[in-house]
Symmetry: C2
Subunit: 144 residues, 2 copies
DNA sequence: CGGTATTAAGAGTCTCTTGTCTTAATATAT
DNA sequence: ATATATTAAGACAAGAGACTCTTAATACCG
């Protein structure tokens, strides 16, 4: 799997928040509501979203009418920011084969091709924002 | 991580076998020898290589002068065959975001870009064979 | 035949990821 | 103040992946 479960959950939840914020004009969405609609464990999702608030991608508010919201506009939050916060960036720097002692200095025949594709993937996640995804994601695309 | 540990070990071991076969003209290489040179657990490597022999990518022979060897020429064994045998092909068919209910029929803005890169990656591993890699891999590139 | 080298098979262990549960902290409303 | 809604934090449990160990099967050699 390319990303951890937590990472894909984080992306789905952030996307739902983006959709709900614009569609319903609310500032904070309770995590329980997100978990219900995404059919995910509330507690697990809570923990993952704590990582996003820690990374200042989202912000949270406790108490009644509290919940979680985007820390900035949806078009300022790229997928790479979420991926980086949850899974780290090693996917985009490590080798697919995990070999040591090699790399730029002593590349195998795969190296150029691999690092190019890795870079393309990275750029794809950099330029895709929550706004990009939210624009045509209908509500029932979220459930498992 | 893109691949499981077992998968990268399988690739390294198969590559070492390819190198040793051509360089030293031996037909079977003992797994112990591979494990030592790659600094991997003998028993674990044994189990992984069993998957490759099961998949008819390698063939094994027991007893003295036994070991493991490629089941066909190194240029007939592509990385995708090894990857498919050990980790399966789900990486190349599943979505990066793991969303359901979507795909070709109802693609998100990521879909086209993602499936294109996924396809390129797959083609890269299809056309890269053990022979491709073996041609310029020096012996000390194998260790961790 | 008996000893040794080697892979095959499978049970067992350790560790990391994923998920659950409980308690604490904070905010609101009455 | 007290009750309630909500996130924060952390202990705990279940599962999967990674690794270890033991025993069996097979092949060779003397
Ligand atoms: S040279 Fe090959 S094995 Fe080494 S890091 Fe590059 S792609 Fe990976
Ligand atoms: S439409 Fe988007 S989320 Fe769905 S499978 Fe394609 S890339 Fe993944």
């Amino acid at each position: 799997m390319l990303f951890s479960k937590g990472c894909t959950y984080a992306i789905r939840a952030a996307l739902l928040v983006a959709v709900k914020e614009t569609r319903e004009g609310r500032k904070f969405i309770p995590i329980r509501e997100l978990a219900d609609e995404l059919d995910l464990s509330f507690h697990f999702l809570t923990k993952i979203l704590q990582v996003l608030t820690e990374a200042e991608i989202m912000e949270s508010f406790r108490g009644p009418n509290g919940g979680i919201g985007l820390a900035r506009e949806a078009n300022k939050i790229s997928l790479i920011q979420i991926i980086s916060a949850v899974d780290g960036m090693s996917l985009f720097s490590e080798c697919a084969l995990g070999l040591p002692d090699c790399g730029e200095a002593k590349p195998c025949p795969l190296h150029q091709s691999w690092s190019k594709r890795r870079e393309e993937l990275k750029r794809m996640f950099e330029k895709t924002t929550l706004a990009t995804l939210a624009q045509d994601f209908s509500k029932n695309s979220f459930r498992n």
